[in-house]
Symmetry: C2
Subunit: 795 residues, 2 copies
């Protein structure tokens, strides 16, 4: 956690009022700009100092070997890893004879502002050279949400206290040296200089660099063009070499004069298109951007964002930090998914190289719900990408001796990239998570074309996987043995409740949807018999329950295991996985991240209210939240069982994960799924929002620390706003036809007139306790959040 | 399996009547000579052609990195791997101008004979050069069982059809090029040229080469000296360079003349001794060997072996192949263990580089029982080595957060070298296996000094491990969760019956032995309370039982899992681990190697006779024997439950593993534990031998294919012979005081007079079936071994 705040708390901006070199790598992630296709870390314009330079193109990857000490059948031989592509952000500046570098001379002012309504990163600098010449530099950077291939920078320099000679060098640089490529020399070798030059052209104010990735053989192009405004006498040169393109502008600025360079950057890549085709593609994108011009791009950007916020914004009274954080989260989720367009949404978006740039189940489970209800076309795109990788998933299932499709635990392009199968391959729940995202999206949009073209096949192939993965035992019970659920401190267990419940939904829905579209079902080879076998497996699905303790074991036998010795585990030994072997973690009752509790959120109808409260209390005592995916689910279920202040605490943790660098690894990129949790904790937690089968349900209830919560969302073509205060909830239809909603179990129709309903009071159950030292930080100061009688689990 | 036999069947020899170049790598393993300290593969004297050159020193290893695709706490960073040390076997020959090479000229005769009474490998060759000069070459090779540092070769050349010019070059060669160092370039790099020269000296007929291993920093010396007999005129030269020592003898042989070179080779290594000290050590060993002379070494060797066979020999009438194989097995076990002297006994002995030269639990569980009853001092030495590694095992337990000692799954010097923890670290049963070997050895020898100095501490530290590894559940049952039992097609399961029963014995015996030696117990910090806690855990030990099926599940929940689809698994998909992922194997009922069945052998008193029969039948239907460790245990338990012909079939499989190359990897070294199974299948199987608490029990019964079985063994200072025929068993005391024995449950005292007892007839139960295609090969031809009504499991 950060000692003193790095960023000001502001409802619509993230502002760094002074340059924090000690937080540079973190702020590069925080200030990353992306549209889901192109991602640029928030590196300083002049390139140095840097924490980690980063420019990424969605799904442009390099291969690296996966070495195993002991071989095994079905182990993937190589992994895909995100590549730092040609850096188009660079604009260097020479003032008189001094290169502008914040580490030299004097920094009189340095402010960076990420504006979440404008979609820009603005930097304002006042700097004196060692020879005491002062200049003011303003740069505004954007990655266009409307023109997918385009980023742009408006860079301005003006003298403050006398004439200066200035030279700016606007560059494209490929194969930048990167710090810290890891310990494995073979991996480092594979990632050093990943780009092989194919072409470089400089002309007028433009440069195009084309490269191919060394092992994966993908082709990319980066191009730049400029508009230069300044004094009459300017010397402009442009040049290129295989890895560098450079535009140099030299001039002299008198007081009152200004040099302004607008840099348009275009990126493109392809695994199939020819060099000339790709060259023309980026050139055309540049032409379009220049035609729009800087102001035009800014305008489009704001309009795009205005539209987004009109169906997505969340307002909070009482917790300014979370107010900022939820918008920050929504903004970055939009950035990660807006224009991914049938490519994956990575765990870090395009904000850093963490997790090798891979996508995991987090996207379907935590990120797509947010997009589904705020920007549904982006959710459809992400699922369409999964659908496009079906051939690979079928192939993988075949390798594993299974029917249907087995989607990869981690990947960039669709091939399994997990090198540790107990936590990778065995995590089959990802298939049900994808199915769940399909079901949610179709429910939220009634998008029948999607259901027919994308959804049905995803549901059918994952249902086939589950049917083959499980088996009926001699008592006719359907069991799914030897799989790994969401909690990574257990692995390869039988009948994980989360997995079995999610698989049950997957099997049932696949049968229903297939029977709804007999033409497509026939094309997929689904017979009535096969659909019946899915319904049968779903009906017989084993859901273990420990009668003795009155709780659901996370997996069969879990509650028989020894409890982790939390008392003997000091704070310095977290995260546990760095200090204890998997062997020890797997065999004991200790939970890295919500698993059974996530099942209660996503499959709530499978549990009684009493079971929910007991289970929640039981798992609170075991859950250490060594994963950033955990807090949001605990927030949602804490709210559902009436632990509103505890829910608020967990909400704070998920929402502030990156702004406060709570996991101390924001440097590697943002935790997109955790950021999604801010929205989920508010909307599904305090709003109690659940939706299925066309009924949108709410059960709003606020914690003491939040006096008002208002959120907007989209559902079946409508835009809604729900405003919650301590005593009541107001429902408003902002657009679309009337709709039936449910408020705390009571259905009503919402038309043009707002509807207000009272909020029932929560039961005052004692607060459950967490493992010592693993309590979430309190959102409200003072003893109010700690009930003195709260040390035993609920129930 | 070999198409036509490579070796003649002979009761005391293994004879290769003609050179089989297609089986060269296999015969290098078969003809390996070793004394447990020095091991020489049966490479041809002239070095080429070769399958795999190999000269090994017990525990002389190199380090190689263990690369992981995803890091994990407690993963070992490097492995130890056996090194091909300086080759002292080489004697090259030039006849006229032609180098002797069996691939050129004409081979008129080529015979190799391993003599298991003489302890020598004799090669007789008649060869014509391409220019048609014929010579007869005889070489006799030995690795001395009495002079541990010494190997020797007597090499003779004589002309057959006219005078020849001959040059012999007797060499020491370090850093030989090896074929196939594996795919991983870093591993290959670590093992290429592993020896760094420190010194080389040539003088008279002697050479000493000293080297140090590059990464592990161990020092070794190899030396040779010669005695040369031949015509009057011989030119003798000796020379050395860093990696080569060479003695050259040039002469002309007239018909009737002969050149005879006796080569004495001495090896030594140390991690601590200085260069001069080690140099002097091998020089002194050479001096002693030269003093004994070739004939003296031969005589000592035969006497040593005569003594061994007098307490170990097994005679069989009716199955000549198994007769040869059981002696072959005993001979190689003796070679592996005789002079290991407080170093480990590797899975391959010193016969090849398979499994990196590591030792596993096989040694304690399958090899030490044979040595315990035939050469008990070697068993004591092997356990003393384990005791010497206790500090490392304690350290490993500490790394894993456990009490006591955790011995490595695989190692050379005591450090854990397993790179896949579910099948390595989690195989904690190795600790109980070591304890079991201690208990067996002490019972068989009454060696109180060993018990006090070695045994007690091993028992105590392993008991501490088990006590900490398990826990009492809320019902007071003691559970051991998340461990891997012997069967490698399951992993990380709860309450593996084998593990729990072996741990129970370990805990109980540790308490008993500690209380028997209060002085030592106090020194080890064992209080009466601690011992009581072990007894309590043992008494409460969980032994799961499936009431529904009436069998013991291998581990908790095992019998709920889906059965492997054997019908759909063609013969080309075995061994399964090469064709199916662990994921799939672990979650289904399929058994690589006896696990529950091994528990019934080693902890027989924990099962009723009826349970044994039912369990045996159940697991027969699931066991595919993809491990060479399985057949012997199935032989023993088949015999116990009265399936005598089936036992004979399994006996054949374990006994002929290497002579018939059944697993197709004898090239990498012999399967020492499988070879031990020939003895175990006969003595513990058809002899029904079990021993514990001073009572030696027999329950002999022969299969139809064996008309007479006689075996010798040692027990508590006695030598015994048991002779079994179809109708009766004869017990004879060959040496030592009278002793109480048990015959089929009836106790009697055996003194100087032989005792004869009738053998009861076995119940004629139907033969259980194995997975299709996995039936053992029948030892007796024809339908006699196949009961037509035998297709369903017993019971």
């Amino acid at each position: 956690m950060t000692d003193r705040p790095v960023y000001d708390v502001d409802p619509w901006c993230v502002r760094e009022p002074e340059l924090r070199l000690d937080r540079l790598t973190q702020s590069e992630s925080i200030f990353a700009l992306s549209n889901g296709h192109v991602g640029l870390r928030g590196n300083l314009d002049e390139g140095e100092p840097h924490g980690l330079p980063g420019s990424y193109l969605n799904s442009f990857y390099e291969l690296r070997p996966l070495p195993y000490p002991e071989a095994g059948n079905g182990y993937p031989e190589s992994s895909q890893t995100v590549v730092n592509v040609t850096n188009g952000k660079l604009i260097r500046l020479l003032v008189d004879d001094e290169p502008f570098d914040v580490r030299y001379g004097r920094l009189l002012g340095h402010e960076r502002v990420l504006d979440m309504r404008a979609g820009t990163l603005t930097r304002t600098v006042e700097w004196s050279t060692p020879a005491d010449r002062t200049v003011r530099i303003t740069s505004v950077r954007m990655v266009s949400l409307t023109q997918r291939a385009i980023a742009a920078i408006c860079y301005e320099v003006e003298p403050v206290d006398g004439a200066v000679r200035v030279v700016t060098q606007s560059e494209l640089v490929a194969n930048e040296a990167l710090p810290d490529l890891g310990k494995d020399p073979r991996v480092a070798a594979a990632l050093e200089m990943p780009l092989v030059s194919e072409e470089h052209v400089a002309k007028d104010t433009s440069v195009v660099l084309m490269h191919r990735s060394r092992h994966s053989g993908l082709r990319m192009a980066a191009a730049m063009a400029h508009r230069i405004d300044g004094p009459e006498h300017m010397a402009v040169e442009v040049e290129s070499s295989p890895d560098v393109g450079r535009l140099t502008v030299a001039t002299r600025l008198e007081p009152g004069q200004r040099l302004r360079i607008v840099k348009f950057i275009a990126y493109g890549w392809s695994s199939r298109r020819s060099r000339p085709a790709l060259h023309d593609q980026v050139a055309a994108a540049l032409a379009a951007a220049r035609h729009s011009g800087w102001e035009g791009l800014l305008k489009e950007q704001r309009e795009y964002l205005d539209d987004f916020w009109s169906g997505a914004d969340v307002e909070i009274d009482g917790d300014a930090e979370v107010q900022q954080a939820v918008r920050f989260g929504l903004f970055h989720i939009l950035q990660a998914g807006a224009r991914a367009e049938r490519r994956m949404i990575a765990a870090k978006g395009l904000t850093g190289p963490g997790y090798d740039g891979h996508t995991f189940w987090d996207t379907e489970t935590f990120v797509l719900p947010v997009l589904t209800y705020t920007r549904p076309d982006a959710a459809a795109d992400a699922l369409t990408w999964r659908h496009m990788t079906l051939p690979l998933a079928r192939e993988r299932a075949g390798q594993l001796g299974l029917a249907g499709a087995a989607f990869p635990w981690r990947t960039i392009r669709g091939q399994e990239c997990s090198g540790y199968w107990p936590a990778g391959t065995a995590g089959f729940h990802i298939n049900a998570d994808i199915a769940d995202a399909v079901i949610r999206y179709v429910d939220a949009t009634e998008d029948e074309r999607f259901e027919r073209e994308v959804g049905l096949e995803l549901l059918v192939e994952t249902a086939r996987l589950w049917h083959g993965l499980g088996h009926h035992d001699v008592d006719g019970v359907f069991r799914i043995d030897g799989v790994t659920g969401p909690d990574e401190y257990s692995a390869v267990a039988d009948n994980n409740v989360y997995t079995n419940l999610m698989a049950r939904q997957n099997l049932r829905t696949a049968a229903t949807v297939a029977m709804r579209h007999p033409d497509l079902a026939e094309r997929s080879g689904v017979t009535a018999e096969e659909a019946a076998s899915w319904r049968d497996a779903a009906a017989a699905m084993h859901v273990p329950y420990d009668e003795r303790l009155g709780v659901h074991p996370q997996s069969e036998g879990f509650t028989d295991h020894a409890r982790w010795d939390f008392a003997a585990t000091g704070p310095e030994r977290y995260p546990l996985l760095l200090h204890f072997p998997y062997f020890d973690l797997y065999r004991k009752q200790v939970v890295k991240q919500a698993d059974l509790v996530l099942a209660m959120h996503l499959q709530g109808e499978a549990f009684t209210e009493e079971q929910k409260a007991r289970n929640f209390g039981y798992y609170e005592g075991l859950t250490v939240r060594d994963s950033s995916l955990s807090a949001q689910t605990q927030a949602v279920m804490a709210a559902e069982v009436g632990q509103l202040d505890l829910a608020h605490d967990y909400l704070g943790e998920t929402a502030l994960m990156d702004l406060r660098d709570l996991a101390r690894n924001t440097r590697d990129g943002l935790h997109i799924a955790s950021l999604a949790g801010a929205w989920t904790g508010l909307v599904a937690g305090f709003g109690g929002m659940r939706a299925r089968d066309g009924l949108l349900r709410f059960a709003p209830r606020l914690p003491g620390g939040i006096t008002r919560l208002a959120f907007r969302m989209r559902y079946r073509g409508r835009r809604l706003r729900v405003t919650v205060t301590a005593g009541s909830a107001m429902y408003e239809l902002l657009g679309g036809a009337e709709l039936t909603l449910s408020h705390h179990g009571e259905e009503f129709t919402l038309g043009d007139e707002p509807v207000e309903r009272p909020v029932p009071v929560a039961l005052g159950l004692p607060r459950p306790s967490q493992p010592p030292g693993r309590e979430p930080a309190a959102r409200r100061a003072g003893p109010a959040t700690r009930d003195p009688g709260s040390s035993s689990p609920a129930g």
